[in-house]
Symmetry: C2
Subunit: 89 residues, 2 copies
């Protein structure tokens, strides 16, 4: 089963809104919006904008938070928070 995932990064929020709407319009019943670190707030924005402006009946099925260990450019291990928001038509 292909998972429909939108990974939110540093681009403008509407890019990810559009990507999410595209997934939903192509027949996805569920889409998972993921982000980590500073993009977490933007992932929440994406879901809220999709829900409030474009897909009124949209449900937030579940939200998970977690921590990932990443290795920074100078070789140090750094913990970064992550979020996964699963939405459902």
């Amino acid at each position: 089963m292909a998972e429909n995932v939108i990974l939110v990064g540093k681009k403008p929020v509407m890019n990810y809104v559009l990507a999410t709407l595209t997934q939903l319009n192509e027949g996805a019943k569920e889409v998972t919006v993921k982000a980590r670190g500073k993009a977490i707030g933007r992932a929440v924005d994406v879901v809220e904008i999709v829900k409030n402006r474009f897909v009124p009946g949209l449900k937030v099925k579940g939200i998970k938070i977690d921590t990932e260990e990443i290795v920074s450019q100078d070789g140090k291990k750094v913990n970064v928070s992550t979020i996964e928001i699963t939405i459902e038509k």
Copy 2:
């Protein structure tokens, strides 16, 4: 019933971690960590740090996201995303 709420803003993340730990140590079974806008990522950091470093058995009971309309300094209405993370000992 008094609700135990930590409102996460612009201070360093450890301030809010300490506030959350204080609530839990004073007998709160549940604490709700709230934030909006750019502080959303920091609220997730607070919960992850409390869980991973200080209170291993901590459970995330629920996460809610929403939108609030606020009036900016120049009188414009602006939508801002919010998050509420409820944790449980």
